[in-house]
């Protein structure tokens, strides 16, 4: 797992934009991508997002890692659609007595599906890369997401790093003692690691509660207040949504 906090440190144009504007824009464009019937609009959005990611100095390696899983899934679905769905054969090859038929309509459907995945993933990646988690939490509170859910998000996010470090220490200790040298020992080691994490989670929850009450916790986590909207940011967002809507209609 790559720790995802380190890429927000850059103070740039996109990170300075109000997170609520970014969430509204992301959601609006995501709906357009999901409702898109063509391939040009999602690919256009993907290209735009990738350019913006480069603009805020996200390393190419990090982007490749982020996109590797969705790209694999997109390729798998393209393959599935091309060879196994459709009615209009594009080609037929016989290899070792097996007829492999590729369908034209299946290929088109696969490309459409893949472009939708790439477009949607790029949007969320850009939103994630350009918004610190605490800002997203503040934004979600403004959108009236239940406070219990927001509290849980904050606690979970805080302790992922702590428990991940614990897991790393246990894992390395197990690995150095050949804990993962065979499937059987690997399973046993992984079970111990997971169980140990659960025990630490229980123990930390007690300590955390005590510490939180000492710091004035009353049952709900304090969330930062959102500043009022900036007129220029709202105007730009409206223009972007309108322009994207027009492009969506045309493409």
């Amino acid at each position: 797992m790559h720790l995802f906090d380190e890429y927000y440190k850059n103070n740039n144009l996109l990170t300075r934009v109000d997170v609520r504007i970014k969430l509204i824009l992301t959601f609006s464009l995501l709906v357009m991508v999901l409702c898109s019937n063509g391939i040009i609009f999602p690919l256009f959005i993907a290209m735009l997002c990738i350019v913006l990611c480069k603009f805020i100095d996200i390393p190419s390696r990090v982007m490749l890692i982020r996109f590797s899983e969705p790209l694999f899934i997109a390729a798998m679905l393209l393959f599935l659609k091309f060879f196994f769905t459709g009615h209009e054969p594009l080609f037929c090859v016989s290899i070792a007595g097996i007829d492999i038929v590729g369908y034209k309509d299946g290929l088109m459907e696969g490309i459409r599906l893949s472009s939708r995945i790439i477009g949607a993933v790029s949007l969320i990646a850009l939103a994630g890369f350009s918004s610190p988690f605490t800002d997203i939490i503040t934004g979600l509170s403004w959108f009236k997401i239940p406070s219990q859910f927001v509290d849980l998000l904050m606690i979970t996010y805080r302790y992922i790093f702590v428990l991940f470090e614990d897991a790393g220490v246990i894992y390395n200790a197990q690995k150095n003692r050949l804990g993962y040298s065979s499937i059987r020992s690997g399973l046993s080691s992984f079970g111990t690691l997971s169980g140990e994490l659960i025990i630490r989670a229980f123990d930390r929850s007690q300590i955390t509660t005590q510490a939180m009450f000492q710091r004035g916790y009353t049952g709900n986590m304090p969330v930062g207040h959102s500043a009022s909207f900036k007129i220029n940011e709202v105007a730009i967002a409206v223009v972007i949504i309108f322009a994207a809507g027009v492009l969506w209609k045309i493409m």
Binding site: L34, Q148, T156, A167, I183, E196, L197, A201
Partner: protein
């Protein structure tokens, strides 16, 4: 006669197609470093299907929130506990595990153990929180597919795991066996519902069943052994907790305390 020959030829062709499909699925899975087969990726589901799964997931998440609020008012340490278990589920479901039959890596869900410890209502919430963070920061799953992923991993995984565990414990099955089967069923229920969601979302004009079957076959090389591995890990975790911290299992009402001593039965 002609009809029989034609029928045989069609069957043979279909068999070849299935062999070709299985072979291709193996090659694809072996090529990929990590087959994160459990989460539906961002953008796969069309808008209407994405909304439908959100609607299905919403009452379960609402129930989880209600239960959390109720339990937190009795014991204030409950909210941090659920948050920390969500962090553990997040970490467990990010850890690659070797799947020998496919020559690749996949990951466990972790909802089986969270359902056993916290109950299915809160386990749905745990899955929702872990999935939300994974979608936003790791491109693992997605925001538009969050509803669908909550239904498969959170609801189906948690309820299947919890019901299995409770039923087996009702028949006095030992902790490891009950945990093993609960983990196995939770994993397979997740994979089955993911297949249903995927097939219904991407079928377009094609019929549902053939596509569903193909997706199931594609998942088999990783999810079948992974379910067994997750079962073994879940069983191992429950036993480890029983040996090291039986007080936690008593607190979470997984086992009973008889005269102040943890009683496995």
């Amino acid at each position: 006669m002609k009809k029989t020959v034609f029928k045989t030829a069609c069957t043979a062709l279909n068999n070849f197609k299935i062999h070709f499909f299985v072979l291709s699925a193996f090659i694809f899975l072996m090529l990929s470093g990590n087959a994160y087969a459990m989460h539906i990726s961002e953008g796969i589901l069309p808008f209407n299907w994405a909304v439908l799964w959100f609607v299905v997931a919403a009452p379960f998440v609402a129930y989880g929130l209600y239960k959390l609020k109720k339990l937190s008012s009795i014991d204030p340490s409950f909210k941090p506990l659920v948050g920390l278990v969500a962090a553990v589920v997040f970490i467990i479901s990010c850890m690659p595990m070797p799947v020998p039959t496919a020559g690749t890596c996949s990951h466990p869900c972790g909802t089986g153990i969270s359902a056993i410890l916290l109950g299915p209502g809160l386990s749905v919430l745990v899955a929702a929180v872990a999935l939300f963070i994974q979608a936003l920061f790791l491109a693992h799953g997605g925001l538009s597919t969050l509803g669908a992923n909550i239904v498969s991993m959170g609801i189906m995984g948690s309820f299947a795991g919890y019901i299995t565990f409770k039923t087996l414990r009702g028949f006095n099955t030992n902790l490891f066996a009950a945990g093993f089967v609960a983990g196995l069923i939770a994993d397979w229920a997740t994979y089955l519902s993911t297949s249903v969601e995927l097939a219904s979302g991407i079928m377009g004009g094609s019929p549902f069943m053939p596509l569903f079957t193909k997706i199931i076959i594609a998942f088999v090389p990783t999810q079948l052994p992974l379910g067994i591995l997750e079962g073994a890990i879940t069983g191992g975790m429950v036993v480890l907790l029983y040996k090291k911290r039986p007080d936690l299992l008593i607190k979470m009402k997984v086992i009973k305390s008889v005269g102040g001593v943890a009683n496995e039965a």
